[in-house]
């Protein structure tokens, strides 16, 4: 008797509603459309790599991998080595993060955990506005405001107090590796801050309550429960900043001094890959100069991909065991 009350399985199978067929057809078109769109991205990437490779073939043939370790850059003598550029790119980005990460995390934690409610939204809004300023404006501001300030106040102070370290020795010019790193830090801060803030806001209130109910102070709750909960998202925020710092061109080339040299002192000028491409591309007179610049672009591309892959790996490593919601980014 129990079975008779259940719907018989044959009934719906005999006549599939026409609308289902139509939906399947529409689904197929939709799926094809989306698949094409999704495939276009890796295709574009492949095309980009191919172009960079063929464009730099001349330089790759002549210098090989020695290009990456060579440190002379002389378009007249047709001798090219990118080591100072790679060094400058990586160092300026790392320095920028060293300055920007503590500051932006501090601001994000302040805005989510400690600031009075009426202050939170306006401050976050203003900081996010900073991300919208064009980098050439940052560069100009750097030349007229930041560099004089650094040159007159900050650099002499660093030389006087930390001068025993090789990083803070030598003549002070103004435009320098450190100046570029500071402007980079200011530029990536809004990105790291706003992503870190979103991530911290997404930490469930129950985690806060759990820590506080166990006798944690507000500060202990932040350091021992809230930040660890959000750690993979925070690393994601830092990587976003790193990506920006590696590729930033305009403001850096305006402040870094543009000299092909690996200097121990942060007061000395340097150069980055993005900056050299921007500066020399329009004036590249010879085929080999053009090819060398394209080679630099290829190296920059590879380094960016490698850094991002390493960062992904890091996120994946730390987010194992973390709640599913925390693995975003």
């Amino acid at each position: 008797m129990a079975t008779s009350s259940l719907p018989t399985p044959e009934a719906p199978a005999t006549a599939p509603p026409a609308s289902l067929v139509g939906a399947q057809h529409g689904d197929r078109v939709f799926r094809l459309l989306l698949t094409t769109a999704a495939l276009a991205i890796p295709l574009l990437m492949g095309f980009l790599v191919y172009e960079l490779y063929t464009g730099s073939a001349l330089a790759i043939d002549r210098y090989g991998l020695g290009f990456v370790t060579g440190s002379t850059w002389d378009p007249v003598a047709e001798e090219f080595g990118a080591a100072p550029l790679i060094f400058g790119t990586l160092l300026s980005a790392v320095l920028a993060l060293l300055i920007a990460v503590p500051l932006s995390l501090g601001v994000a934690i302040f805005l989510t955990e400690f600031a009075p409610r009426w202050l939170r939204q306006p401050v976050a809004f203003v900081i996010e506005l900073l991300a919208a300023i064009p980098s050439v404006v940052y560069g100009l501001w750097g030349i007229f405001v930041l560099v004089p300030l650094l040159k007159k106040v900050v650099f002499p102070f660093l030389r006087d107090t930390l001068g025993f370290l090789p990083f803070f020795q030598g003549p002070i010019y103004g435009p320098s590796m450190l100046a570029a790193s500071v402007i980079l830090a200011i530029m990536v801060m809004p990105f790291i801050m706003s992503v870190a803030r979103e991530v911290l806001l997404a930490v469930p209130n129950s985690q806060r309550e759990a820590a506080l109910a166990l006798g944690a102070t507000r500060w202990e709750a932040v350091t021992s429960a809230i930040v660890p909960y959000a750690r993979s998202g925070i690393i994601g925020a830092v990587i976003l900043g790193l990506g920006r710092a590696l590729g930033e061109t305009m403001a850096v080339t305006m402040l870094i001094g543009n000299r092909h040299e690996i200097a121990a002192s942060l007061f000395a000028p340097g150069y980055t890959m993005a900056a050299v491409i921007a500066n020399e591309f329009s004036g590249a007179g010879t085929d080999i100069h053009f090819a060398a610049l394209t080679y630099v672009a290829l190296v920059l591309f590879v380094i960016t991909v490698l850094v991002n892959a390493a960062a992904r790996l890091l996120i994946w490593r730390v987010s194992r065991g973390a709640p599913a919601g925390g693995t975003g980014l």
Binding site: R117, E209, A211, L212, L214, G215, A216, E220, S224, P228
Partner: protein
Amino acid sequence: MNTLSPEPSAAPAPLLRTTLARRSSPAVPMAETAPAVESRDFKFWYGATAEPTLKGITLRVPRKAVTAIIGPSGCGKSTFLRAINRMHDLLPGARYGGELLLNGQSIFGPGMDLVALRQRVGMVFQRPNPFPKSIFDNVAYGAELNRLVAPRDLPDLVERCLRQAALWDEVKDRLDQPGTGLSGGQQQRLCIARALGNQPEVLLMDEPCSALDPIATQRVEELIHELKRDYTIVIVTHNMQQAARVSDYTGFFDRGELIEVGETEQVFTNPASPRTEAYLTGRFG
């Protein structure tokens, strides 16, 4: 201190207390020993509203027993529970009046250290909220934070708490695994073990089984029964059968007032107030 009830001089105090007690609590076997938690005409406001959420609660929570607080949604039972370890401190604009005492010491008084209070009064929440840390670190969290034991004694403490929470046998081989990987019921027992790690005097439970299935609920209820030998437990529950099963004393809240409180059996079989009876028989709430 914004005590609203006028503080009487030493001599008439007992008189006042009895009158208050008589108003809310007809049978008073609970008053025999010094209570672990005592509220005297305790009032609470969530914001600048004129109407208090709690309208003068006078209640004595006996030591080493389970006291259940029942009542319809919005009656203020969770508000009262969360006042005991001052979880409301997070909310801007919350106000209180009257007195709330832990072992005779005012919870809101200037002499009460917030961190120490929360170490002495543990809390288990409605939804299990383990940290995304290892099982070991979850249980050791409070003791490490408040430096209750030497680091070398932590493993003993963790084992003891997990045993008390009836979780040890299930997790002893995977203490380094994340606590978030456990099932819902296990997570809630982990949260209980975590609260015990602080070696509290009082354990507050805010509907601890509402997110659990019946079997996990039963395990937690058995656990509560075990824990009352060592701890004073106050449990808020929506589930009247649960209150009847686990508690020694029951308080019935309605619209911010304590309607009646007494031994669980008496409240359930022979309630003094018609409102309690109406609620228990399902006529409202």
